[in-house]
Symmetry: C2
Subunit: 158 residues, 2 copies
DNA sequence: CTAAGTGCAAAGGCTTTGCATTTCT
DNA sequence: AGAAATGCAAAGCCTTTGCACTTAG
């Protein structure tokens, strides 16, 4: 944990960036919530516990900086909010998402299923893959079961 | 072409929606630009040729309606603008994207490479797949060649 | 000391909404 | 006729930016 912070610190410093209290607090929040996909607003609220004076703009600026340094990955699930994930740049962190359109649950597949496809992309398209995103939209197990139990209406509510 | 418009018309009517000039014009624009990923603004500008009085709000409302009816697919490439694609709901239209991070080119793979993975998702996660999205980010063939020709600088421009 | 970073508030995009008016069925 | 749809402008989000002040190195 501390060593990972240390590493990110050095990454910042080696690029000539300063190590401010706000930046460290932000990185800590990201580390402590590695499993989640936090929005800037989420990070802001969490980071205020550690650095109450921090402003939302600084959080945005820090997340942008970390994205440039490839420390975090900026993601977009189509709900209009950017979400940020710490990158495990050791192994390809590349997880895939299962997004339930009924209840909104977001599940993850932690394995990387795409290696073979990346090879195909490279060979057939001359395209060098740096990153990828695979999302499935559908009905999650829980909703599937719920629906089976109580025969659902034909029409969607909206 | 006309038959596809007819089909969408009927789809609208069968759900009790009215067939306005604006909606038809919007659908035509989408049909005529099927290969592109138009933003609402793009659609708006194109549709103004056919229906000059139309307002941007109507375009948004129409695109939202068509999304609900699964006539179009709303997409998000992370640049903060929603883009809309007509869905070929006959065959799984599901194309994948190759996004070049250097020049911004957006190429497509028109085949569906994910059938086997969908089966796995269903079996291993009890998740019913309705749709999916697969994007690769990286360097396109053209940029790769350009880079090889003129040994590129070590640092990115920004 | 001085350039980089911060906080605040204002400004920017894209998208949605309220409301009076128009239009389809 | 009556409900649905439209256009316009205003309002709503999330995000970025300008600027004076603070701080890390």
């Amino acid at each position: 944990m501390e060593d990972r912070i240390e590493k990110i610190k050095q990454q910042l410093q080696s690029q000539g960036y300063k190590l401010t209290l706000q930046r460290e607090a932000t990185v800590r929040v990201l580390l402590e919530n590695e499993e989640d996909h936090l929005s800037a607003e989420d990070v802001f609220m969490l980071v205020k516990d550690k650095a109450p004076e921090i402003g939302l703009a600084t959080v945005y600026r820090t997340l942008e900086l970390l994205t440039e340094l490839h420390v975090v990955e900026k993601m977009n699930f189509g709900d209009g909010v950017a979400r940020y994930d710490l990158r495990n740049d050791s192994a390809h962190h590349h997880h895939h998402h299962l997004i339930c359109v009924q209840c909104g649950a977001l599940d993850e597949i932690m394995e990387d299923w795409l290696e073979p496809l990346e090879i195909r992309v490279t060979e057939e398209f001359g395209f060098t893959v740096l990153d990828h995103r695979l999302d499935f939209q559908g009905i999650c197990r829980r909703c599937n079961e719920k629906n089976k139990a109580q025969q659902p209406p034909q029409e969607e509510s909206k």
